[in-house]
């Protein structure tokens, strides 16, 4: 009798698993079709030319030091944007998380408001503000604070300003979600046991909010690596990122091999970077996956 019951239960469990699998299969299929197949195809193309297997696309990247510089600038700008969004987003998210829910929702709506405007419009708006005869420079000059217009755009600062503005909500949302879930009782307990507010914040709240910082940083950093329109418009040709070279190779020369090789290198370098970060920071544990 007993073995039969165990078998029946096992069978039930198996059916349950199959049912779950069947339910999630559309999502799996979607990921497979729109993510795995194209990435695999990209990988394949980057090793192929007229004679079959080749490393020539990679050799070309290796031999032209321009590509090293392009990768350096791509990672540097992504890093700067990530740091600045943390610096700007953290206090904002903290403030929102301490507000009553109703007020916080209004605050979050304001944070999300830029999403209602097209990326292109927001980018050109920065151009209007930052250029030589733009609003910022003309205001500063009429106030007599500067004599010559500042170079705010068509360089790294313009690119970073524009990207930070666009990426900020991607930082604030995960931060807010994490901070909301921190039990306010913990801070009260620390303070009631005699910790000064500042100390309670840094020893209790800040470490507990780290998963939000990491989630937001990953989101912003990865998104920035593929940024195209904003750096193209605000960089004035002096800031060249990997995305622009991929487009050039794919559209001007129909050179899918070279474009794919760039994409693969970007992907691999990004993965290696995260592996390295993971070794320094215990990301898994912080994200609650021990």
């Amino acid at each position: 009798m007993a073995p039969h019951a165990a078998e029946a239960m096992e069978g039930d469990a198996r059916r349950e698993r199959l049912r779950l699998l069947a339910l999630s299969s559309p999502a799996f299929l979607l990921v497979f079709v729109v993510l795995l197949i194209p990435v695999g195809w990209l990988f394949f193309l980057s090793f192929i030319d007229k004679d079959g297997f080749t490393l020539s696309h990679y050799a070309r990247l290796w031999q032209n030091d321009a590509y090293f510089e392009i990768f350096r600038v791509t990672f540097l700008s992504s890093f700067l944007v990530t740091v600045l969004t943390v610096v700007l987003g953290y206090p904002l998210a903290y403030l929102l998380s301490q507000l009553p829910r109703r007020a916080a929702i209004i605050g979050l709506t304001v944070v999300l408001l830029p999403f209602w405007t097209s990326l292109l419009v927001r980018t050109y708006a920065w151009l209007v503000l930052l250029q030589r005869k733009g609003l910022v420079n003309s205001t500063l000059m009429s106030l007599g604070l500067i004599d010559e217009p500042l170079n705010l755009v068509y360089n790294m600062s313009g690119v970073v300003i524009g990207m930070v503005h666009i990426m900020l909500p991607f930082m604030v949302l995960p931060l807010y979600a994490t901070m909301r879930s921190i039990d306010p009782g913990l801070m009260r307990a620390a303070i009631s046991l005699g910790a000064p507010r500042r100390k309670a914040f840094f020893t209790i709240f800040a470490p507990l909010s780290l998963p939000g910082v990491i989630a937001g940083s990953l989101l912003v950093f990865i998104y920035c690596l593929g940024f195209y329109i904003t750096p193209q418009v605000l960089g004035g040709g002096r800031i060249n990122l990997v995305s622009m070279k991929i487009l050039e190779n794919a559209t001007i020369y129909s050179d899918w091999g070279a474009a794919s090789a760039l994409g693969v290198v970007l992907l691999v370098v990004t993965l290696l970077l995260f592996k390295a970060i993971q070794m320094i920071v215990p990301v898994d544990r912080l994200m609650g996956r021990s």
């Binding site: 030319d49 007229k50 032209n64 600038v73 005869k133 170079n151 020369y253 129909s254």
Partner: protein, 352 residues
């Protein structure tokens, strides 16, 4: 070697072209004997070219000309390699045409039917012919320099005589030519371009370039907002900004003429009719219509003898004989062959 490489590439692209092929099959059933399809760049530009060239051509030949829009050579390549050509005549940039000729994507032009008199021989090629020109010219802010702006690329490179913010195109095409002219190369002896000399000349001006523009619209915005004091940009864009109130002027001195060209993709169903339509389209009389609709110069100098272009208008056109004489022609055939090499060096140059 290069041919087989590009051919292989073409075949690879061919596989992506299935949707095009399917629509081609649907289209062939509707093909009539006296009907052809052309393709151009879409938008306002195509609207103007349609009124200037294709509608009159259709009317005079008594045929129907359907229009489609193209993204360039990759589209033609896909159609030819999939053996399902949708377009009887296609418009391309001059380096696209040169590249396509190298890849064998076009039918030979029958110059007994198409009359090439009045064209610069450089743009009369076995499989393509130019039909209009735009120019990369030197423009300057009149607020900064009045009427006495830079009159040559050497002036543009001279930062003591003409201090101020500068902008050039973010592409080696046209800019390498400008760099060589600035360095004193004889306009008649520009080609083959001396890459070492051109990049050496560019290194000198690079610290003074505030913006490398990457689209015509961006160049127009830089002019309109007075963001730069001088610019090397396409004449139509500068003149449009001036018409809209920008305090700018430009000169055709040392301008660089860039052609757009027409070609017949290989394997068209109705080659004879396509040839006849092409011949009509590039005739001096039809080409002379272009300036009425858009700021592009007809490629055939005989258009200026037709009486259709008033002398006042001719003065503003880049291909009018007195203006054309001050300029140099950008050689698409050179760019078709050396474009990738030049652009690889450009990437290095711009990132250092």
């Amino acid at each position: 070697m290069p041919t087989s490489l590009t051919r292989h590439r073409a075949r690879k692209i061919g596989r992506f072209a299935l949707p095009v092929a399917v629509s081609a099959l649907l289209a062939t059933s509707a093909l009539a004997a006296d009907q052809i399809t052309i393709s151009s760049w879409g938008g306002n530009y195509q609207e103007a070219i349609s009124k200037a060239i294709w509608q009159p051509t259709a009317k005079e030949l008594g045929i129907t000309i359907l229009e489609d829009s193209t993204n360039g050579l990759a589209d033609v390549r896909a159609q030819v390699t999939a053996n399902s050509v949708l377009w009887d005549i296609t418009e391309l940039t001059i380096d696209g045409c040169a590249q396509g000729q190298t890849e064998g994507l076009f039918e030979a032009i029958d110059y007994n039917v198409v009359k090439s008199e009045g064209f610069d021989p450089v743009v009369v090629q076995p499989t393509y012919i130019a039909f209009n020109y735009y120019s990369n010219v030197i423009g300057w802010s009149t607020e900064k320099f009045g009427d006495a702006g830079p009159q040559s690329w050497a002036d543009f490179w001279n930062v003591e005589k003409f201090p101020g913010r500068r902008s050039l195109r973010n592409d080696p095409a046209e800019v390498l030519e400008a760099a060589l002219l600035a360095d004193g190369v004889d306009p008649a002896k520009l080609y083959p371009l001396d890459l070492d000399r051109a990049f050496k000349s560019l290194e000198k001006i690079k610290p003074n370039i505030s913006v490398w523009w990457s689209s015509g619209a961006q160049a127009a915005q830089l002019v309109a907002d007075g963001e730069v004091d001088m610019i090397g940009a396409w004449n139509g864009r500068i003149s449009a900004a001036i018409k809209a109130g920008a305090k700018y002027k430009f000169t055709f001195n040392q301008g660089l003429l860039i052609a757009d060209c027409l070609a017949i993709p290989k394997g068209v169903k109705n080659k004879d009719l396509a040839m006849k339509a092409l011949a009509k389209a590039v005739s001096p009389e039809i080409l002379a219509n272009i300036p009425q609709y858009i700021d592009y110069g007809p490629a055939n100098s005989k258009s200026y003898d037709t009486g259709k272009i008033p002398p006042e208008l001719a003065k503003t056109l880049n291909t009018a004989p007195e203006n054309a004489a001050k300029q140099a022609i950008v050689r698409g055939d050179w760019w078709g062959e050396h474009g990738q090499e030049a652009r690889d060096r450009w990437a290095k140059f711009i990132n250092q």
